[in-house]
């Protein structure tokens, strides 16, 4: 798991959790408050309506009491023959615009007067909403009762009902009156009407409508919550990235340095904080390494040069006994490198061959002068002895583990092998012979034929070319012969460059 990812996760944990908790707490308390507000508003509305109703009912009661004291009540003594009381009651009913009636009832429960004339002289045996005593103007004793029946339907004119919210009445039997419709889900507030016993007024609202604002808020709350969370996440990522960037930079630079081995690279310093200091320290370290590497490289080069010189000198020493000129070794080395390159070997391999090649005849040091420098032809015994120099040279060189000496060992061992397998010492054929050996064979023979020897004179070029053509695939690797002829000029140039000085 990457550090950036870990940082992001950590950052998210420490910020999202309290954030979410806070938002949820806040949201839930807000929601509760909104719900309370809805309820409170309903309560307020209900109370307002109730107070209006109560006020009007109070007025009704006051009017009733006032009428009971009115002068016209003396007409009780005439049983309201002239209907003066009834007309007053009717006027009052019309003035108040109520559904219901007034009744003036005597001590025998007979209706003397009423705002509804059809009730006059009937028995009063039903319930009334309010009643008050009527006293005689002469002796202040009660002579009748004035009643008013206030139909509950009157209450509906105080109800401002709408589609989503309405009032209704619960009468003393618990029955719901005047309810226009039912809601699937609703919230309601109810209160008893103080002016009429056992009557309740209920204000009911469709729940969905009541909480519509809340729903809207909820939606936006959730949206905000998510936006907030998203913001936190983005910030986390941004911060983590910002935190990681210089470190990544640092590590990628280190990687690049390792890959390219280029220790001169410096990390750009963009900050002055601890990360910046890390970068600066890194830069200082790299610079130090760079310096050290430079020194090592120099040392290395010197060692390599020394090594080359030693090898070459050793080769030259080996050749010095056989009265070959020093330049022969050089020429052969150059021919070998060129052939190796054209053959397709890498520069390093070609160069190694060039440095190893001079020691191809080192085995000759173990050959006695008498045989080595014999001017005439060798006897078979002498030739067998000569052939040993390949194996001898190999034995001398192979004991080292140095790649260069190992290469030289191969060259020494196989430079006399022939492509057709008729070479020596092992009679390897074609590609059994190491390419180093095949190349050295070509290079060595070409130079030997073109140079004067103690036992012969230098051949003409044409003769050399004929031989090569003849020996293509026999003595020599055909591919190498082709390369040779293809790049003949290069070889001749080398021969010219390193010509023997007599």
């Amino acid at each position: 798991m990457s550090f950036k990812f870990k940082t992001i996760i950590f950052f998210l944990l420490i910020s999202l959790i309290p954030y979410a908790l806070t938002m949820l707490m806040f949201g839930s308390s807000f929601r509760d408050e909104q719900k309370n507000n809805v309820e409170k508003e309903l309560k307020t509305q209900l109370n307002m309506t109730l107070s209006r109703i109560n006020q009007n009912l109070q007025t009704l009661q006051n009017d009733l009491k006032f009428m009971a004291k009115s002068e016209v009540m003396a007409d009780i003594y005439t049983s309201d023959l002239d209907r003066r009381i009834s007309r007053l009651l009717l006027n009052k009913k019309n003035d108040l615009n109520i559904i219901g009636n007034f009744y003036l009832v005597d001590q025998e429960q007979t209706i003397i007067a009423s705002s509804d004339f059809s009730y006059i002289s009937k028995k009063f045996n039903f319930n009334s909403t309010y009643s008050t005593k009527v006293l005689s103007p002469f002796d202040n004793k009660p002579i009748a009762n004035l009643h008013v029946y206030y139909d509950l339907k009157n209450l509906t004119k105080y109800f401002s009902n709408s589609e989503n919210r309405h009032y209704y009445v619960v009468d003393k039997n618990g029955k719901n009156l005047f309810q226009p419709k039912e809601y699937k889900e609703s919230i309601l507030i109810q209160s008893t009407l103080s002016s009429i016993d056992n009557v309740k007024i209920v204000l009911i609202e469709d729940k969905a409508h009541a909480y519509r604002l809340l729903k809207k808020y909820q939606f936006w709350f959730v949206v905000t919550l998510f936006i907030g969370a998203l913001f936190i996440i983005l910030m986390a990522i941004y911060f983590a990235s910002n935190l990681i960037k210089p470190l990544k930079h640092l590590s990628s630079t280190a990687n690049k340095i390792t890959q390219t081995q280029d220790y001169s690279v410096q990390v750009p310093i963009e900050r002055s904080d601890e990360i910046g200091h890390l970068g600066k320290s890194f830069n200082t370290m790299i610079k130090g390494i760079n310096g050290a590497m430079g020194e090592v490289k120099d040392l290395n080069e010197e060692i390599e040069a020394t090594q080359r010189e030693v090898v070459f000198t050793m080769g030259a020493i080996g050749e010095s006994r056989s009265k070959e000129t020093g330049n022969h070794v050089k020429r052969v080395a150059e021919y070998s490198k060129l052939l190796a390159l054209y053959y397709g070997l890498s520069e390093e391999e070609a160069e190694m061959l060039k440095q190893a090649s001079p020691m191809h005849d080192i085995g000759k040091v173990a050959i006695p002068d008498a045989i080595l420098n014999k001017p005439g032809k060798f006897t078979d015994e002498e030739f067998e002895y000569m052939k040993k120099h390949a194996k001898l040279g190999f034995d001398m060189l192979n004991s080292s583990n140095r790649p260069l000496l190992k290469a030289a060992a191969i060259v020494a061992h196989e430079h006399h092998e022939k492509y057709n397998g008729k070479g020596y010492p092992r009679g390897l054929r074609a590609n059994e012979i190491h390419i180093y050996g095949r190349i050295t064979a070509v290079a060595d023979v070409f130079d030997a034929l073109g140079s004067d020897r103690c036992y012969k004179k230098a051949w003409d070029d044409e003769k050399i070319f004929d031989l090569f053509r003849k020996e293509r695939g026999e003595h020599f690797d055909p591919k190498l012969v082709d390369i040779f002829f293809k790049h003949l000029d290069d070889f001749l140039e080398i021969r010219n460059k390193f010509k023997d000085l007599i």
Binding site: F66, K69, S70, E71, M73, L88, N91, K92, D95, P137, F138, D139, N140
Partner: protein, 333 residues
Amino acid sequence: MASLIKRIIIFLTISFELIASDLSSYELGHGYKFNSLLTIGSYLSTEYEVAKDERSFTLDDIALLAYGEVMPNLTYLAELEAVKFYKYDFKNGIDETNDAFHIERLYFNYRFSDNLVARIGKQITPIGYWNLEPINVLRDTSSNPYYSKYLFPKFLTGVDFSGYTSDSYQTTYHLFAQKNEDLDETYINIPNEHFFGASLEHELNDEISFGGSIGQFKTNSQETFEYIQLNAKYDDTTFALSSEFMLRNGGLDSQKDENTYGGYLQALYHYTPQHTFVSRYEHFYDKSVINKDQLFLLGYSYRPIFPVSFKMEYQWHELKDQNKFLSSFSVLF
């Protein structure tokens, strides 16, 4: 007082709702009867006076009246009045207002029988004719005679027993006593702390009546006065002749042999029930303040209906610079 007015106005406004439903039964001058417990009324009067040193317009009286029967035989009356509610002085171009309402009358009346009625509280002093009708709309002229203004207290705060003396219902007596200060002295002509009196009034027939009274009172300034008073009237609906006279002695600087007295003789002619002509002669001599005058006035009044009255009069005084012209308009609701 101002808050009292406010309350009264509120009461009237609230009552209006009930009155309005029954306005047809209301008659001007009869008040509005809610029930036996409460009847309300009101009156106002305005006066315009031109004299040698004065020319003014006054909104003279505004009053509210309430009375009714609390229990069988027990009645009450309350009257609140603001005097000189507004006066505009043309000579000086200044106006003054006085919106203080005071208690003019406040009493309970208990009728034991036709022969004995007790009245307790602040009430009109039952002396003569003129004093019994103190408000502009009820009297015959805008001005009051000296006799009733200066000689005796117009109001008493105490108890008065009255009634018919016999089954003939022709003779009425009053016996009154006050042994305390007046209730609301603000506009009493003679505030007093002690007032006793007795009177008798006899109605000979529908036209003729006469009576008299005696009494004693002590003013707030500790002057004691005793009086004797006589009155007589003839009224046959078209023509009325009335006279009152009081003789009074007492006071701090008075000499026993020189008394204060005052009186008037008034003749009134109803040309029609609406148009009336009146003339009055007054004589007045108050020793205690060395104030004496004689005057003769001629007046005219127009009453489209009885409770609405337009009056005009001109007074000629013994002291020439006292001559004045008065006119007034008043209404009783």
